[in-house]
Symmetry: C2
Subunit: 126 residues, 2 copies
Amino acid sequence: MEDGKGAPNPCDRVSSEGPKVREVLDRVGDKWSLLIIGTLQHGPRRFGELRQAIGGISQRMLTLNLRHLERDGLVTRSVYAEVPPRVEYELTRLGRTLLEPVFALAAWATANYSEIEANRRTFDAR
Amino acid sequence: MEDGKGAPNPCDRVSSEGPKVREVLDRVGDKWSLLIIGTLQHGPRRFGELRQAIGGISQRMLTLNLRHLERDGLVTRSVYAEVPPRVEYELTRLGRTLLEPVFALAAWATANYSEIEANRRTFDAR
DNA sequence: CGGAATCCGATGCGATACTG
DNA sequence: CAGTATCGCATCGGATTCCG
């Protein structure tokens, strides 16, 4: 806004285009979506594989989250008419592009986790 | 994990270090924290300024979120004993480093928002 | 002005049971 | 195996009221 030129400054997007950012965080910011996306990064996975790889997720939430990701075009759902049935989930091109900023956030998280923990202990001790 | 070297691969951090990433998303992934951080990027702001700049946030949630951010050491809270009282919030060094990955996510959001919207319409129309 | 306290509805999420 | 349906709890978040 204090930028004379018309060049889009990503530093102002968080506040100026808040709704869009929030829309993305509503998808990615919940308890499981990011873990699902991270588990799918290496290639297609079956429902049960995802469940086992993630660990601790109920089948209900796994189903719901996969539906949401599918709706937004971040993953594809492929059903194979076999017995027993087999369903595979895979990241779309759009989903794979999301991996980049997500990894950036993950890197920040692992790098600064201990400092945050220390801050919390200090704050709680007051 | 399939990386022979000891070099940390950020691409595996989402799934392997899920808890830490989730911890960060629990702070940043809620409805307002990111907007608050984005609004604070230009410098210190008073409580009322934040409220007005963000728009639509209740004072309850603004207070709560600011406390959480303060607890994690992402913002500082400075109280000036005046009448009427003045309280200023400012990003810490740690908070400013968080801006980078957040901007990356914001850039992705603005770049791909329309595609996501289109995907949703297609999905909902089935 | 900045914030704490309370009430309340909406949503997230897990546990369980059932189905093609 | 991969869901769907239903329940019940916990948390999120808004509106309102009171306080220093």
